[in-house]
Point group: C2
Chain length 497, copies 2
Amino acid sequence: MNAWGMGIASRVSAPPALSGSGKGKKVVILGAGLAGMTAAYELGKLGYQVDVLEARPFAGGRCQTARKGFTLQELGGEAQTCRFDDGLYINHGPWRIPLDHQSTLYYTKQFGIPLEVMVNDNDHAWVYMEDAGPFSKQRLRPAQVKADLRGHVAELLAKSVQAQRLDTALTADDQRLLLDYLAHEGALSAQDLVYRGRNGAGYAEPPGAGLKPGRLADPLGFRDLLASKVGKVYSAVQEFPMHATMFQPVGGMDRIAHGFAKRLGRTIRYGAEVQSIRQSPGQVTVTVRDASSGAVSQVTADYCLCTIPLSVLRTIDADFSDGFKGALKAVSYAPVGKIGLQMKRRFWEEDDQIYGGHVLTDLKAVNTISLPSSGWQSKKGVLLGYYHYALDAIEVSALSPAERAEFAVSAGEKIFPPYRASFESAFSVAWHRVKYNLGGWAEWDDAGRAQAYPTLLAGEGRVLLAGEHMSYLTGWQAGAIESAWLQIEELHRRASA
Amino acid sequence: MNAWGMGIASRVSAPPALSGSGKGKKVVILGAGLAGMTAAYELGKLGYQVDVLEARPFAGGRCQTARKGFTLQELGGEAQTCRFDDGLYINHGPWRIPLDHQSTLYYTKQFGIPLEVMVNDNDHAWVYMEDAGPFSKQRLRPAQVKADLRGHVAELLAKSVQAQRLDTALTADDQRLLLDYLAHEGALSAQDLVYRGRNGAGYAEPPGAGLKPGRLADPLGFRDLLASKVGKVYSAVQEFPMHATMFQPVGGMDRIAHGFAKRLGRTIRYGAEVQSIRQSPGQVTVTVRDASSGAVSQVTADYCLCTIPLSVLRTIDADFSDGFKGALKAVSYAPVGKIGLQMKRRFWEEDDQIYGGHVLTDLKAVNTISLPSSGWQSKKGVLLGYYHYALDAIEVSALSPAERAEFAVSAGEKIFPPYRASFESAFSVAWHRVKYNLGGWAEWDDAGRAQAYPTLLAGEGRVLLAGEHMSYLTGWQAGAIESAWLQIEELHRRASA
C-alpha cells in the first residue's frame, strides 16, 4: 500500500519490452490458443520466423463461441451442430474478462474489440435452494438475504456493544464509532438499534405514482436465515477476480481469437496434429499429421514454444527427460461442463426483472443458471443452463446432447415455470471429452506447485511451455497470455545469448 | 412475500388497459416531458384529439443529453454551447434507469431503444476523503474497505459468540450456525476465527504467470477504519432503486425523449409558452405565447393535463381555487448541479483500472466523480465532475460556466493527478436556474404529502396534474411516466362518464 492505493505496479499489463531482433531465428509454436497466438504475434514483431501448428481447423483453443453452424463432436460422442438463431450465442469456454486481467484487456484494446459489461453480480437474481430449511424451494432475492442477515447481525453486535458485554480491547470512543458504523451498515433504527427492514431488501408494494408511498417487505427472520444457511451463498465482498466491472466482447468471446488469427494469417497452419517432438543440440523437430489428408511432415526450428494442454501433451511422443515427463503428469485437469439453452422468450427479464447475473442453486449438477448480458429486452436469448465441475461434470457428460438438454430443462423449470415451454435448442460441451483439450483447465495442488510446476516452467532444452497451466491464473485467458509474455522473454534471452 | 418471491404484482409495469374511446374529445397537454408525452401517446391511441404545448424548441423536459452543439442559457447566466467531440455526451438530467422502473423500461422496449449497463456500483472505484482520520487524502478501493470492515466485525462478533458473552436468545444450535455464517461472510480462519485479509480485498502483488502466486494486501486496521468513518460511505446493500442491474440508453438518455417525439410528430407544438389557464364548466382555455414570434393564441379543450413542474406552474396565471393554489406552493424544488468534463485520455481506466461507477468523496460540493459506462477502452471520455444538491448546488451555480469547470478540475486533480492536463471542455447545468424547470425535482416533506399532495392529485375541474412531482418516485423518469398512466385513467374515467 502507498498513498495512491494498492500497489498495482507489479501487475503485468503489457508484453515485455524486448530489445534486439529475432531475425534469422525460427520458432515453432504448438497450439493456436491465446498463449500460442500471443507468443506468435509478439515474436513476429521482433523479427522471428514463426510457425504456429494448430490441430483444429480454427484458432482460439478454448476461446470459443458457439453460434449457428458451430460443430462439436466430443470423444466417443454424437456430433452436435449449434442451431441457435442468428445473433445468439453461448461462450462455452471462457466467458468473463475481469478488470484485473489487464493482459487480456491489453489485446482487446490493441485489436479494437468492443467490450460490454458482463453482469457478474446481480442481487436481484434468484437464489433457489432445495435444501435450505425454512426457505427450501423458495426463490429469494440475494438483496433481501444480504440486507436482512447483515441487519440482524449488526443489531446483535450493536446490542452487545451497548451492554458492554464484549471481550474487546476497543476503547469507549471506538465503541461509539462501531455503533455508528453498525447502525449505518445494518440500517438499524437510531433509537433502539433494532433492524426492521430496509428498502434495499425490497418492497412488498413498491412506491409509485399517486397515493403509493410503498410498503417495505418484512425482514426474513434471523433464526430462519441461519437455519437456511443461504447466507453462505454470499460473502462480504466478491472474491478476486470476480468483482465489477466484468466484461465480455460484444458478439462473443471468440472475437479475441479472431483478432489474433486475422493478424497472424498464414503464420498459423490449421489441421496440424502434433505427433512427436524431438530435440537435437541444435534444433527441435516436430512431426505433424495433416488432419484431413493424413499426410505426415516435419517442421524444424531453433526453438519450440509448446502451449498444448498438459492433459494432451503427456500423451504425445516426445524425447523429454523422465523428470520432465513425470512433471507433465503431476497436474490434474478439471472436468467441466456447460450448456447453452436458447429460449424463445426472455422470461427472466419479462416476468422476474432479472437482467443478467447468476441464479445460484443447489440443484444437483446445475450450480448456476446464468442469464445473458446482451440483447436486453429483445425477444429471445441464450442462457447458461448449468456450469458444473468434478463428479457432476463427469456424470452429466455421460449423457447424450439431447439428454443433457432434458436434464438442464428439468432443473431450470423448478426455478422458472416458463422454462420448458420457452426452450428451443441446446448446445453443450464437456471439456474433459473434447479432443485436444481433455479438460477445462489445469488444477494444481500444493505438491505439484512445489515440484512439477518449476520443472515445467524452466522448459527443457529448446522447448518452453506456455498456457494457463503455467500460471497462477489457471482457467483464465489472462493466465495464457501472461504465461506467453513470460516465456517469450525467456526464449528471446536464450536465442539472443 | 409468497413462495415465488417478493410480491411484485403491484408494480405498475404497463399503461392502464382502458376500454371505450376518446373519439371527439380534445385534451390539451402542457409540457412535452416524459409525463406529457406518455399521456399524449396513450390518449392518442384511444382516439383522443391531443395537443401538446411545449415551451422549448425540443421535447423531453429534463430528459436531456448534452452533446456537440447543445445549448443552454441559464436564467441570468452566460450562454453555453457544448463542444464535446462527436459521439461523446453527458446525461445532465436523468442518467440511470433502475431495473425496478419497469414503466420506463416498458417504453424503451416498445420503442426499440437499445440499452447498455450503467455501472452504478463499482467496488474498484476510489473512495477519497479529505477528512477520514488515518485515511485522510488517501485513495482506497471500496472492496478493501468493505472486506476488511466486515471481516473485523465478523471476527469481533464470532469471538463474543464463542466466549458465550452475548445477551441473546440464540440457542446453541443457532450460535453454531451463526459462527459458520460469520466465518464465511468475514473470511475468518477456521482455526481461530481471526480475519487476516482475503483476496476480495485486493492483492499487494497480484497472481500471474510463472512463480507469481500473488501476495494479499494486509488488512486495514479495525481501529483505523472505525476512526476514518469511511465505512459509512457504504451499507449492507445498495438502497432501492440503486441496485444492479442499472441501465442507460445507448447514445444518451434523450433517446427516450426522441422515441416519444418521433411518434407524436406534429401533435407537439414547440416554442409554445403557457401564459394562462382558464376553465369554464364546459372547457379549458390555455393562452399561449409563441416563443419566437411573440404571437399570442388560445387553445381550448375538454380537458387539460398539466405536467409543468410545480415550481413553474405556481408562477403561471390560472383560475385555480385558493386551496389549489396554496397546495401548488407546498413543495420545494431541489437545487441540483452537474458538470460533464471531456478528458482527452481515459486515465481512470488506463492508470487506475476503474471502469465506470462512482468515485465518492467528501470534497466540498463534489460528492461524486462518475466515470462513463460506454466507450470502454476508447481514447477520450466525458466524466461527471460533480453532482451536488442544496446549498452546494446554490453556491456553485453562482459561478460562470468557466469558473464551474475550474472548480471541478481543481477538485478532481486531488484524486486523479492527470485530471487537469487531460481536461478539454466542460458543460454544466444548475437545474434551479433553468427556465421552465426551476429545480431538479420536487422534494415533498411529510406535511406536504399529507395535505397538499392529495389536493393536487385530485386536480381541479377539467385540469389534472401529472409529472414526477405527482409520485413517490420523485426525480425519476418512472415517476413521470407512472403519474401520466395514473392520470390518463382518471381523465378517461371523467371523459367517459
